[in-house]
Symmetry: C2
Subunit: 336 residues, 2 copies
Amino acid sequence: MQKYNVAVVGATGVVGQEMLKVLEERKFPVNKIIPLASSRSAGARVEFQGREIVVQELKAGSFQDVQLALFSAGSAVSEKFAPVAAQAGAVVIDNTAFYRMDPQVPLVVPEVNAGALKNRPKGIIANPNCSTAQMVVALKPIYAAAGIRRLVISTYQAVSGTGKEAIDELQQEVLDILQMKPVKPAVYPHQIAFNILPHIDDFLDSGYSKEEMKMVNETKKIFGDDSIRVTATTCRVPVFYCHSECVNIETREKITAAEVRALLAKAENVIVQDEPQKNIYPMPLLAAGRNETFVGRIREDISIDNGIELFIVSDNLRKGAAFNAVQIAEEVIKDF
Amino acid sequence: MQKYNVAVVGATGVVGQEMLKVLEERKFPVNKIIPLASSRSAGARVEFQGREIVVQELKAGSFQDVQLALFSAGSAVSEKFAPVAAQAGAVVIDNTAFYRMDPQVPLVVPEVNAGALKNRPKGIIANPNCSTAQMVVALKPIYAAAGIRRLVISTYQAVSGTGKEAIDELQQEVLDILQMKPVKPAVYPHQIAFNILPHIDDFLDSGYSKEEMKMVNETKKIFGDDSIRVTATTCRVPVFYCHSECVNIETREKITAAEVRALLAKAENVIVQDEPQKNIYPMPLLAAGRNETFVGRIREDISIDNGIELFIVSDNLRKGAAFNAVQIAEEVIKDF
């Protein structure tokens, strides 16, 4: 069996760590793993397949003999080094927002648009925004069966989406509050413990945040359908792992809740948890560390004719980042 | 100045305590305060105007010489004792769901429909569901200016809405988790710390919860307009105080975000916090203990022609319960 040299850029970050874990769990055919990071983190050690591997400093020459490069070290790093890696012959799978809306870069969630992978003139493939990735997996069967006219989305996003320092900040704030000490937010502009921030990424003059516009624009690109109308409000909640979403869908054709439940029950990487009267519904607690997307609270919207309400939960570090990236890598090597 | 004997039924609960606090803060003309509770809590002491007052057991004879009775001790207690209090001559202001949809009981948020108070054939006035009360305050000026066709709501509701034992449960779970001890949920069916539960009140066969249907039905009743279409998903979040809501509004006429901002800025008991680029938006942290409803993230919905997005936060124990009840009492005594 053919094996590949795989670089992980940002290997010490929460997503980078998760990428290593998922490559291992999925038994991805790795010949050599090359963990890369900035000079600040170079020299640190990461674990892969039971071995400790020294993280190397990311440089122009880092991608010699690398077939696959998974990037998750911020947009500035991807802007600079993704083309370098592609030039050196690696297929780049980039988890940042930098290339997502580039018409020459496919934006892929394999369950939805694996076909788009073939056409990658820059040698770069973009991994979508975490909230978008999990949502489109759940929407795909509905889109195929009934079409989608409009989405109204509200999110409940975990601090792990911001990174390791945000996980530490939530934990420290909780400790400080329980000990009656003053809270000193640094990662977020306000206390996140026991609070809700309707604020993810920067705000635009329209009043929408960049995170909200990612959901709007990436959804259209992944479905290849600009006619889908999308609005979103994205909120940070005091949860460590997994993003939750209320998604209100207006379909083109009528579809019943029972039909949606049946379609989702057989959808790839989707688990239906929908017996609310038995307290069975998706929750961050149950989705953490899982690759699947969990869907529940499936019901017909009583306010319009063709409406479906969903509650969708998935691990933002998995389907929203590392798992989707590794799925893309699995698709890519089929054609190597 | 005329003063009144005021009974508070459920005086030892979180809402009852808040009612005493708000009566005091608002300098409500109280002659005598009569805190009432079940036999279990009778004998406890509550504070009012700097004095400790012994809680009496709620009985049929409790309402002798009482002009106003504020109820917040559960639907079963209101079902049984609200008519008793009304019969004894008190005006009942009931915070439970029991009478809210009774056509002979006005359901009132004074900023919206104070006029409905006049017609109370049963001597009972209902205080709305917490999530609904704060929402309609923010919606009123928009309804008046542009009409409302449809609402799509997602909520982020604090544990204090469930009561004192839920506040204790969240705190205990956080402590247990930080100390690596097992979590033992009792009030909620699942852990609430660092988790999200898409579950408030019981579920109906339609898939909606009773809490969601309260938002649907009470909104129509308060506005006196059955043509408003409403859908909601209500979620419990690990926050102690204040409910947050994403509200997507489809208006009948076009209204701009600037117009909405201007209308809300002069609306009674509304505070606009809407400079997101300066990190100014509503949050539970800032709304706790306040009577006002905070509105921000005001923007035109890019997915439809006549759409407005709002993020609304208010203290569920205040506008959602005690403050609204005391406001109603203030209106009622104007006509005594």
